[in-house]
């Protein structure tokens, strides 16, 4: 009994009240956070040690332990790890811990109630599925971690504290907000949780308004901008959900069924989950920049760059007066355009270029106005024999190959000369292009012969 009790108190830092799994890490933390000399970043071992170092080396007096709580900044007290903590503080800490277990348990209960609330069917208290990290033993609710300032890089250990979030009903969708379009292929919703590791648990739809989450950390999220100062447990999540949540409680904001609480760390931001349909109807969400002195270089709307780009008039093939036909085909255009970097030319030998044209056929038609190809056709032009060969100057003066180049016949490219900048000019700028090397061929042996272009047709 007594042993068990002892196990429950984890090593904690007197200066900042933070808990650690291991005293070694606690000592590392203290050295890095509290015993580091502000002038020369030397890591000392204790508070008095730091004070003496500063006095002797830098002729400075230090009156407070850096990064400590206001009431715990006494530099005179010699604390190393868990050693030297004043008795009354030890007791106080233990008492607080005991006190917090209760609320933590209660929280679990209310979760269950919530999840039963709007659920279709299924056992209450879904086990945290695969993604959820199991909370470390003796771990109590998040309140303990709130005031703490864990250092940034310790991502690994921090997963622990995030663990309990796995229990949180992930969607705080509006009342009755359930099931957008029927998600036919997702077997998830009907499967009982826990059957197989991969079945997502039903999304419990809570009747709570989105802005009143169960969880302190979620509260932080919804309050958004304070996050920066509060420094929550996981830096990666510290920027709050900057994607504005939809109107609270809007009935058109269904929770996403089938997206169960698989990921422990993910729920905090689930406020912003919408269904696509409602997304389209609404104006896209906005991305707010993290803080005053940083800026995300991205358009304000929370849509992908490509979607935004597709809205530009030049891509709107129905718009009158848009010169859409001009480049007959991306690839041919590629071959014809003057090189942007003087002298660096992509040259396709005539023969090859001819077959280029052939294979560029689909793309030519694709570029035509108004969907000659039904929307969404995949046009993947993979051309092992039609080469987009980035010929450098060396190459262009070489005899032009007329036959289909066999691996042996390809003059080896001067590898040393392959370093950038070696531009292949003018990739089609009208569509999204992804370049991939052809998987089936070894690029190195065959040189630059197997660029496979996938071209995505966009319908407007």
């Amino acid at each position: 009994m007594g042993r068990k009790k002892k196990k429950q108190t984890k090593p904690w830092c007197w200066y900042c009240n933070r808990e650690f799994d291991d005293e070694k890490i606690l000592i590392q933390h203290q050295k890095a956070k509290h015993f580091k000399c502000p002038s020369c970043h030397k890591k000392l071992y204790t508070g008095p040690g730091l004070s003496i170092h500063c006095m002797q080396v830098h002729k400075e007096t230090i009156d407070k332990v850096p990064n400590s709580l206001p009431s715990r900044n006494n530099i005179e007290i010699e604390i190393y790890g868990m050693e030297g903590i004043p008795e009354e503080d030890l007791k106080e800490h233990e008492r607080q811990k005991q006190g917090k277990v209760g609320p933590g348990g209660k929280r679990g209960l209310s979760e269950d109630e919530d999840s039963q609330d709007g659920m279709i069917q299924g056992p209450p208290n879904p086990q945290p599925p695969q993604g959820a990290a199991i909370p470390p033993p003796g771990h109590v609710g998040p309140p303990v971690h709130l005031g703490m300032k864990p250092p940034g890089p310790m991502l690994g250990p921090m997963m622990g504290p995030m663990g309990p979030m796995g229990h949180m009903p992930p969607y705080m969708g509006g009342p009755g907000g359930m099931v957008g379009p029927p998600m036919v292929p997702m077997g998830g919703p009907l499967q009982p949780p826990g059957a197989g590791g991969h079945v997502a648990v039903n999304t419990p739809v809570t009747s709570q308004p989105p802005n009143k989450p169960l969880f302190p950390s979620a509260v932080q999220v919804s309050t958004g901008n304070h996050m920066g100062q509060l420094k929550p447990a996981f830096p990666a999540y510290s920027q709050a959900s900057n994607i504005n949540p939809g109107p609270p409680g809007a009935s058109g904001v269904p929770g996403m069924p089938g997206c169960g609480p698989n990921f422990p760390v993910s729920q905090a931001s689930s406020l912003s989950s919408h269904d696509t349909k409602s997304m389209e109807a609404k104006k896209p969400n906005l991305i707010t920049t993290v803080s005053g002195n940083s800026r995300i270089i991205h358009p304000e709307e929370d849509i992908s760059l490509e979607e935004r780009r597709a809205k530009l008039p030049r891509y709107n093939i129905h718009a009158p007066g848009v010169t859409f036909l001009q480049p007959t085909g991306p690839v041919t255009a590629t071959a014809m355009r003057p090189p942007p970097h003087g002298g660096v030319v992509v040259e396709a030998p005539p023969m090859v270029s001819a077959s280029h044209m052939v294979s560029a056929g689909p793309m030519v038609s694709m570029a035509g106005p108004g969907g000659l190809i039904p929307a969404g056709a995949i046009v993947s032009v993979s051309m092992p024999q039609t080469i987009i060969r980035p010929a450098m100057q060396v190459m262009s003066s070489a005899p032009i190959m007329t036959a289909m180049p066999m691996p042996t016949a390809v003059p080896s490219l001067p590898i040393g000369g392959m370093r950038p900048p070696m531009g292949i000019p003018q990739v089609n700028e009208y569509r999204n292009i992804t370049i991939r090397f052809h998987r089936a061929y070894d690029f190195y042996n065959l040189h630059v012969r197997h660029l496979v272009f996938f071209i995505y047709r966009q319908k407007f």
Partner: protein, 244 residues
């Protein structure tokens, strides 16, 4: 579908909105397309027909292939893991551990996990194995940020490509930089010189000796004149790609 042998072209099928990504899975011989119409469709290259259509939680933004598994990243930061051999249900439904819009997902060649990048200069390394011990290893880091005049500019990370041999990966951002990372040791291996504009796509060659870098303005912000599009093919050395 374009048949190289006969130079003929067939339309296999359509999506209701623009197709954002196309992948080919050699393990099961399927072409996979993901579209803004929120569907992922499978296509059998042997016959001109659709092999299946699978609704995703939102518009498909990116697809990563992991052997027979497909990791689909959609709008609203959803991540779905499907098994191509059993498409009856999504194997895993996750939310991206990054706070901002998912930009790109690529899988480790050793099939252990995948890497997600977001528009907010951040990359997460995630593992597919749902067991807590493995999940503990996941992490995220900041990258593709520039400090200019006291303001930190945070750029979207548009492209990821894995080195097949070393399981290291390159990321390309709208800052015009390409970085190569060792995801297992949490180390940056190298950074290339700055490219003229946003890196829109990256691809390592099969043997990992070359890296193709496409550079294209993506309309992140107003720039005039619009920079030229270009592709760079760069030979990369072991020193740049091999874990140290």
């Amino acid at each position: 579908m374009f048949d190289l042998n006969t130079s003929s072209e067939t339309t296999v099928g359509t999506h209701d909105a623009a197709i954002r990504c196309v992948e080919y899975c050699p393990e099961v011989n399927l072409v996979i397309t993901g579209s803004w119409d929120t569907n992922v469709k499978l296509w059998d290259p042997r016959g001109p027909r659709e092999a299946g259509s699978f609704q995703q939680p939102n518009k498909v933004y990116t697809i990563g292939l992991c052997g027979e598994r497909v990791v689909v990243g959609t709008a609203n930061r959803k991540v779905m893991v499907w098994d191509l051999r059993n498409m009856g249900f999504a194997q895993q439904k996750r939310e991206s551990s990054l706070k901002f819009q998912t930009r790109c997902i690529r899988c480790f060649p050793n099939k252990q996990g995948y890497v997600v990048s977001s528009i907010e200069g951040r990359v997460a390394v995630e593992y597919l194995d749902p067991s807590p011990e493995v999940q503990k290893k996941k992490y995220a880091f900041k990258c593709h940020r520039l400090k200019e005049d006291g303001i930190e500019k945070i750029f979207p990370v548009n492209a990821i490509s894995f080195h097949n041999g070393y399981n290291t990966f390159a990321t390309g951002g709208s800052d015009g930089f390409v970085n190569i990372w060792d995801g297992f040791n949490k180390k940056r291996l190298c950074q290339f010189h700055r490219y003229p504009t946003s890196i829109s796509s990256l691809s390592f060659s099969n043997d990992g000796n070359m890296l193709a870098i496409s550079c294209s303005y993506l309309y992140e912000q107003e720039i005039k004149p619009i920079p030229e599009n270009c592709i760079f093919i760069r030979k990369v050395t072991d020193q740049e790609t091999k874990p140290k």
